[in-house]
């Protein structure tokens, strides 16, 4: 328990973590607010007939927050602590305090999950409340199960970023990959045009946990979609944990 608290304090002490927290929490509600006139016109004109995903769809754009958090919770351990001590990394101090690496990983994972789940809950609440206030008469509030699925999707995305960083030990590769892929037209979505198998990539499958009206080549049921994404995260985390256990600092 004290390990988790220590990891939480380390994570929340990073300035970059606050960038991730602020970006992730603010982007989605701001987008809903900015898009409100356009959405209203689209509903009035009838071009947006399926409003069941309203609000939930905008949550995807805030994913940069969990991605940043998932990456830096690992990468901060590997950056040098000071210009005058190039060899010193925080990880050496961390491992001196907690030599059991798997317990350390467990504590880190727990801390990350707590922070991201809290952030996702706040963001989802803000975004959906705003959607209800702005378009309440046209869009019914989504079922609690779908909101929970969206929060789960955020958490799993953070864990995905975390697992990739455990493998690469450097934040830039996973950040680049994941941020490009969370762009408006993602690379994974593009790949679904090439092969239907791409529908089982974590981000495409994951969104089907809570989105209904997507342009997906393969429809996956919400529960199956969740299991597919969890399988990705577990597989990558297992590789990351084995490497972290075996590799030298």
């Amino acid at each position: 328990m004290s390990l988790v608290r220590a990891e939480l304090r380390k994570l929340l002490g990073l300035p970059t973590a606050w960038v991730g927290l602020a970006l992730g929490t603010l982007i989605a509600p701001v987008v809903v607010l900015l898009n409100a006139p356009y959405t209203r016109r689209a509903i009035a004109a009838g071009t947006l007939s399926d409003t069941s995903d309203l609000g939930l769809r905008d949550l995807g754009i805030g994913l940069i927050g969990p991605m940043v958090l998932g990456v830096i919770v690992v990468s901060s351990e590997y950056t040098s602590t000071g210009q005058d001590a190039p060899g010193a990394r925080q990880l050496t101090a961390t491992l001196a305090a907690v030599p059991d690496r798997l317990r350390l990983l467990l504590a880190k994972t727990t801390a990350l999950v707590l922070v991201v789940a809290a952030q996702a809950a706040v963001t989802a609440a803000a975004t959906l409340t705003l959607t209800q206030v702005l378009h309440g008469e046209h869009a019914a509030a989504p079922a609690p199960g779908r909101v929970a699925a969206a929060i789960l999707y955020w958490t799993l995305t953070a864990l995905l970023a975390y697992a990739i960083t455990l493998i690469t030990r450097n934040g830039i590769v996973p950040l680049t990959l994941l941020i490009i892929n969370s762009s408006v037209v993602s690379v994974s979505y593009l790949l679904t045009k090439v092969t239907d198998l791409a529908a089982y990539l974590p981000d495409i499958a994951g969104t089907q946990m809570f989105l209904r009206s997507g342009d997906f080549p393969v429809e996956i049921a919400p529960v199956t979609a969740g299991l597919v994404m969890i399988a990705w995260v577990v597989a990558l985390l297992a590789v990351g944990a084995v490497l972290f256990h075996r590799r030298d600092v």
Partner: protein, 213 residues
């Protein structure tokens, strides 16, 4: 000339730059292939098909610029040794930009060629090469202000891949003034790209001149 030569040798010996260039080029090949496959499958992909894969792989060039500059500020503080050898900061900054451009140009040309020639639009290769080189310089300039690689990468990628597309969707007129406009519309975007790069480079030179190392 000596300084530019020295800077070029520093860049050439950085393993992270080689890796970034290699990954970028490979990713571009894969994306171009995916686009060709999707195109022959009859998917509507819009205009400027040759440039869309480059729209994604420009991230690699941003990272290239960031890593080139941030390496000076990493562990050990190489920048202080550099300044000891070359105390005049503005000529140093210029030499750094020249060296980075010289290093990027062949990588950009190779990446641009794979995308454009396979789409049958070989005429846009020089423009795309120039765009990617300028993008690298812009990334380098931003990193020179931020000085740390991960925050600089977050900032640049968030602007290029999240704020940019959002602004474009929200207001079509703002789209013509974003730095990556040329990646989508070469005719209108050239001026925007050049002006953005030059202004950030100027800002970087100014802060480098004024700040402690």
């Amino acid at each position: 000339m000596n300084t530019a030569h020295a800077e070029l040798r520093k860049l050439l010996t950085l393993p992270s730059l080689r890796l970034t260039a290699l990954l970028t080029w490979t990713a571009n090949l894969v994306l171009t292939y995916a686009y060709r496959a999707a195109e022959s499958g009859g998917e509507p992909l819009g205009d400027n098909v040759a440039l869309v894969p480059l729209g994604y792989t420009q991230a690699g060039f941003l990272v290239l610029g960031v890593l080139a500059v941030a390496s000076e500020y990493q562990e050990g503080g190489q920048i202080r040794t550099t300044l000891l050898a070359m105390p005049r900061r503005l000529p140093l900054q210029a030499a750094k930009a020249v060296a980075l451009a010289a290093l990027t140009l062949p990588v950009a040309a190779a990446t641009a060629t794979t995308s454009t020639v396979s789409a049958g639009e070989a005429t846009s290769t020089p423009a795309a090469t120039g765009y990617l080189t300028l993008t690298t310089l812009l990334g380098a300039a931003v990193a020179s202000v931020v000085r740390r690689a991960v925050p600089a990468v977050i900032l640049l990628l968030a602007l290029y891949f999240i704020a940019g597309p959002l602004l474009r969707a929200w207001s079509a007129t703002s789209a013509a003034y974003l730095p990556d406009t040329a990646a989508l519309e070469p005719s209108r975007g050239a001026a925007a790209t050049i002006i953005w790069t030059l202004s950030v480079l100027t800002l970087a030179a100014f802060t480098f001149h004024r700040r402690d190392a």
